[in-house]
Symmetry: C2
Subunit: 122 residues, 2 copies
C-alpha cells in the first residue's frame, strides 16, 4: 500500500491565499520526509482536487487520505467533496480515497487551537 | 488587567457553520475555566465583532486578544479586521485590543495540523 495525502482547500483568486497550504505541505514533509502530499483546490486555484489525485496516482499511490483544510465543514466539504472523491475513484480504479474530519471537527485540532488561543492571550 | 478573547470568524448564512466556534470556545473554557471568550463574526452571523467587544468590555475586560479563526489571512483579516479593532478601541477608551496571527500563520498550529494529517493518514 502506498499512501498519499491531499490537502483540500477552497481556493481563491489571490495566489497569496494558498501560502498556508504550501507551509502545511512543507511541515508534513518535515515531520515525515517520505510523505507524498499534494494540494487540491475546489475552485479558483490550481491544482484542482482532480489534479492532486492524478499526481498521487501517477506516483504509485493507491491509498489517498483527504484532509479538508477548513475550519467549518460547510457544503464544500459535505456536498462538493463527496462528488469529487467519487469521481476520483471512478477515474482511478483500485485507488482508495478516504476523507478525514475537517480541522474544525477533529477534537485534537480543537484542543490545539484552544492551546494556541490561550498561549497567545498569555 | 482583565483579559478577554475574541474568536473572530467570517460567518455564514448557515447556523451550523458556527459549530466549530462554539466547540472551540468550550475547549478554551475547559482548558482555562476562568477564560472570558466571545465569538465575533465579520458578517452574516451574530454576534458581530463589535458585539463581542461590547460583551467583554461590559464584563470588565480591558485587554482583549483577537484570534482570527481563519486558515488563510485574506482581506478579511488583513483589511477588515484592523478597521474593526480600531473602531472597537475608539468605542471603548482604555481597552487594549491585540490581534494575534491567524491559525494558518502560526508555526505551532501548522505543526499541529501536520501531525493531524499524518496521524489521520496513519
Amino acid at each position: 500500500m502506498k499512501q498519499g495525502i491531499v490537502l483540500f482547500g477552497h481556493g481563491s483568486r489571490n495566489p497569496a491565499w494558498a501560502e498556508p497550504f504550501h507551509l502545511l505541505r512543507s511541515e508534513i514533509e518535515k515531520q515525515q520526509p517520505d510523505a507524498q502530499v499534494e494540494l487540491g483546490f475546489l475552485e479558483l486555484m490550481e491544482p484542482s482536487f482532480a489534479d492532486a489525485i492524478d499526481r498521487l496516482a501517477a506516483s504509485g499511490a493507491n491509498d489517498v487520505v483527504v484532509v479538508p483544510v477548513f475550519i467549518s465543514a460547510g457544503s464544500h466539504v459535505r456536498e462538493d467533496l463527496p462528488k469529487l472523491t467519487e469521481a476520483a475513484m471512478a477515474s482511478h480504479p483500485g485507488l482508495r480515497v478516504r476523507v478525514v474530519p475537517s480541522l474544525g471537527e477533529a477534537p485534537e485540532m480543537l484542543a490545539a487551537m484552544a492551546r494556541y488561543a490561550l498561549q497567545a492571550a498569555g
